[in-house]
Symmetry: C2
């Protein structure tokens, strides 16, 4: 079958070695675990060039997680991909409000997206949060507005929606919000990428 | 903010138009909805070249879904990404056995992966299934073995694990299993891609 006989636990280790070999350049040691895990999740080396980290974003994200800060996602798929067991040891949870009935009703009433309303719901909770946005540019736009209005102060925004309409612009916008961000510039990203970045942080705790 | 004012419902339509424009070539009309949705999910046009469809795979998948055949995934992330509401109208469900305690125990006892044991669990149910494998090459390898042993006859296998070790080989292997397959050849894929292919089928019902 031409399949390498490798124990399950060895596969991830070997994968990370291959990624490092093929990247062929040194990465900032603080950013490396995140860049490598995103490439591991996508098999797409272009993320080594497109992932943008604001100053000390990784350190600030790790600090928040250590304090038990919870994560808000904009898809249940992203939520499903995050290692909740390890996060919960530090007191953090993962919330996704997208399927909540009050969110659907408010989105309909306000003629906006459920993703935007989900951000309002998070802001109303008056808690510290990390946001992991892998799908909806409108979530990033609403977060930007809420930050401008001083209604929320995210500890970290992982801004990695994927797509062709308003996605590039929303990601560039959130870079200017004045809070710690990790952003995949350009069109690429996704809930899988958002979850991978969360996990790359969580595994370092 | 340089953001186009587009109603939420229009964004997907416009995205698909952009994808079609940039692809710049005609796709087989049967395969087109699937290829376009995978590109929509990943912003990665290379899937137009790497997605492989066995003869009448799409038609056979649609027929199975219309009959109420359920989908088995190898991640809860993939499960979360599939449009279950529409699927359930036809009688189908989405199962993921990866977090089941009996699966974890059997994987430990047999020194294999939970993904492989999940396939055994599906086979033991003696039902028709569609498999949507976005993560574990060992799930594809075990499915191949179960098919050879005539213990299972999947109605369709969506074989799109992502990764660097055994992934390419496992996907090439499943192509030879003699059952309908949709496979992303090469390293790329993922649970998001598996869910996108399922949804591209479901939205056509």
């Amino acid at each position: 079958m031409n399949l390498k006989q490798i124990a399950p636990g060895e596969i991830e280790k070997r994968s990370f070695e291959i990624i490092e070999e093929e990247l062929g350049r040194e990465l900032d040691p603080v950013l490396k675990p995140i860049i490598k895990r995103v490439i591991h999740t996508t098999a797409d080396f272009s993320y080594a060039d497109t992932l943008f980290f604001s100053e000390n974003a990784v350190e600030k994200g790790l600090q928040a997680l250590r304090e038990g800060v919870s994560i808000i996602t904009d898809t249940n798929m992203g939520r499903a991909g995050i290692n909740k067991k390890k996060l919960e040891k530090y007191g953090g949870k993962v919330h996704c409000f997208m399927a909540d009935e009050d969110v659907a009703a408010a989105a309909l009433a306000q003629q906006t997206t459920r993703a935007a309303v989900s951000m309002d719901k998070a802001a109303a909770m008056q808690e510290d949060f990390i946001f992991a946005i892998g799908n909806a540019p409108t979530a990033l736009i609403r977060l930007y507005e809420l930050i401008q209005e001083e209604k929320i102060r995210p500890r970290l925004i992982i801004g990695v929606p994927v797509g062709f309409v308003n996605v590039v612009e929303a990601k560039e916008l959130i870079l200017t919000a004045g809070v710690p961000v990790i952003v995949a510039r350009g069109r690429k990203g996704g809930s899988n990428v958002a979850a991978a970045i969360c996990n790359a942080l969580i595994y370092q705790l």
